[in-house]
Symmetry: C2
Subunit: 381 residues, 2 copies
């Protein structure tokens, strides 16, 4: 049973993945909203847009021409945030100098890919069946596998991927981290509605995965080898109130520590370190979980629901301990709070003090679980 | 001299206030933007708006009537995120239980105020002179002083505040932290253009100030009692390239580790722990710094520049070490990147991996310092 009192009082909840707290103020949604309204995205896009740089057969900004691909297509981002080669840089002077201590910089190289999810300009993951999402997951798995360090124990796993999955060119250097993510909708900074995600791979281990991995390693040490997210998934399965959907391999849950109003996490019930640990069957179950999340999101406010999503898994290179403690999961951070046009702003207090949310994760999960399960709303329009 | 190469290569910079890194990709602004456009706020607001809940003499949502105030007016937020009293809550069971470890909650109480900056509906801090901003700073100082714990060494300081500054009712309990902040503009979640800020006071020490204070304490220990931000201010004064403005008491700087495109920090050059440490003269200098930041922001893209700002200073209650290591400063986090309508989205990669910025802080500082210093652009329209 939910601890009902938490629906009415202000409290903090602890996020064990980041080792930090957030503020929950459930009564706050009662305030009237007179601020910015989002413009819901048009649902009347053409299936093919001649000026889209992601549609099959079109020319891109730097002159390359997309192939006439069927499902997915991967290419190196024409405006990559990190590049494989750049001028060398090392900070001069003694690292204990005040200047190097307070004005510290380190070079980063890496590779950025764009991956389309469908050849149709007007679809989103919410429109696709699990079988249509599976090729996307296969490409993610393939790209991840092809960037693993030879010293990573995961690199010896043989992948049963279908032969249609495109081979990926090896990067020119060994990178540490691969961030697979999607920005969906203009409210989340997406500049092209053609369904696509990005993959940024870097020499450094970024802050978010670094802190998660640290928490995972610590938990295993303190709990005789048990895994934080495996224990958490078990706990949630016993409680049910934060569960949105589950199948044999995966749980879709509004985490206890969710920051965004309808934040969810897809987590493997068993301990899986990364995409390459998933069996063929589990990749299908993961595709089903992604389909459930995105369709339920769209059904919630009958709109194409904006979000940023991302996969956290084992680093490409790391200590054996770091790799083995990692637990495969996917975060979805959606901004909408009350309707297709009213979002939550994580601004002043949230930026200066700590994250703050208005509805509880239990209230969010109930709506996504009970009210949003049917067919995609657009199908009956 | 700037390390010019950092204008061209991807690199990470270290933020010593948070103990974390961010990614800088200066070449990235070259990509074309086809995404969301912000709607710049109208500059044709009336001086008085009969339906504004902040204008003098108007009725608020819960029935209270605002006095016919002159400069500033403080009241308890009608939709406070935290309250002084609520039902009691303590998490049951052994804190070492799996459930209490992974589903951890703690109650929070506190008090939330709203503070108007002017009686005119159509002004912003950018329109006010330093002398008109001073009453706001005096109220901040007064509220902060009246919430200090008797055990806090800062509570014994006698304040030379003008007699017009309103007396503030003592809170019913001792709180730990006071967060003074402003959300300006609809892009930053502000729902009423009447110039105002907020003040949230809580029993817990929130994450952001907690990590800053930890860094300050650590720095003092490791550097024989020197203060991180005092050392940083000295360094920046020697380099000049990140300075936007300075007067005797304060430095306005685009910090080396800035995340937001035109992020600035106002920092006291000498070690000041909080508002009550400032002399009358320093409060005037601080008012001038606030006026310079907000006017230069508006001049940059000739628009009412959205931002969230917030003051970090000593906690209301804490160890003597925490209080004495704190260093008074104010952050401004503005989202606009390229024009009045094109903002930076801190989304997918930023949320899943780590903050990423496009222009360098040196480029941002140069524009704010050299191109934006004149009269407020609206004055000649
Ligand atoms: O309190 P306001 O101005 O209604 O609301 C605004 O500021 C709050 C504090 O940063 C945020 O929690 C809200 O999301 C935002 O819309
Ligand atoms: O790469 P895109 O889609 O052009 O850009 C979007 O995603 C990036 C990665 O999260 C962000 O840095 C940008 O601010 C955002 O607009």
């Amino acid at each position: 049973m939910p601890e009902k009192i938490l629906d009415d009082i202000s409290h903090r909840r602890y996020n064990p993945l980041r080792g930090s707290w957030l503020l929950v103020s459930p009564h706050r949604t009662k305030r009237p909203w007179q601020g910015q309204q989002e413009s819901p995205s048009k649902t009347t896009l053409p299936e093919y847009n001649p000026s889209c740089y992601l549609c099959p057969g079109n020319k891109r900004a730097q002159g390359d021409v997309n192939p006439k691909y069927e499902n997915t297509f991967v290419f190196v981002n024409d405006y990559s945030a990190v590049k494989e080669s750049q001028a060398e840089y090392t900070q001069e002077g003694d690292p204990s100098d005040l200047s190097n201590l307070l004005l510290r910089a380190a070079p980063v190289t890496g590779k950025c890919y764009v991956l389309t999810f469908s050849s149709s300009h007007n679809l989103t993951l919410a429109d696709l069946t699990p079988a249509q999402i599976l090729p996307v997951i296969n490409v993610w798995t393939q790209i991840y596998a092809s960037h693993l360090s030879p010293s990573n124990p995961l690199s010896s796993i043989t992948l049963p991927l279908p032969s249609a999955t495109p081979a990926i060119e090896k990067p020119s250097a060994q990178y540490k981290w691969m961030q697979i993510f999607e920005n969906k909708g203009s409210a989340m900074g997406c500049s092209n509605p053609h369904p696509h995600g990005q993959i940024w791979t870097t020499t450094g281990l970024p802050e978010e995965p670094a802190s998660e991995i640290e928490q995972f390693v610590k938990y295993r040490k303190e709990h005789s080898g048990r895994n934080l997210l495996e224990d958490y998934a078990k706990l949630e399965m016993g409680k049910e109130e934060r569960i949105v959907f589950q199948n044999e391999g995966f749980l879709v849950v509004c985490p206890w520590w969710a920051t965004w109003p309808f934040e969810v996490m897809i987590v493997s019930k068993q301990h899986r370190r990364s995409l390459v640990d998933l069996s063929e069957r589990e990749r299908e179950e993961f595709a089903e979980a992604v389909a459930e999340v995105t369709r339920r999101y769209d059904n919630l406010f009958e709109t194409s629901f904006p979000y940023s999503s991302g996969i956290h898994q084992a680093p490409l290179e790391g200590t054996e301990e770091e790799i083995n403690a990692s637990h495969f999961h996917m975060h979805f951070y959606p901004p909408l709070l009350r309707s297709a046009t009213v979002r939550k702003f994580l601004v002043g207090y949230e930026l200066m003090a700590e994250p703050q949310r208005d509805i509880t994760p239990e209230q969010a999960a109930k709506r996504l679980r009970e009210d949003c399960g049917g067919e995609l709303y657009r199908k009956h329009l």
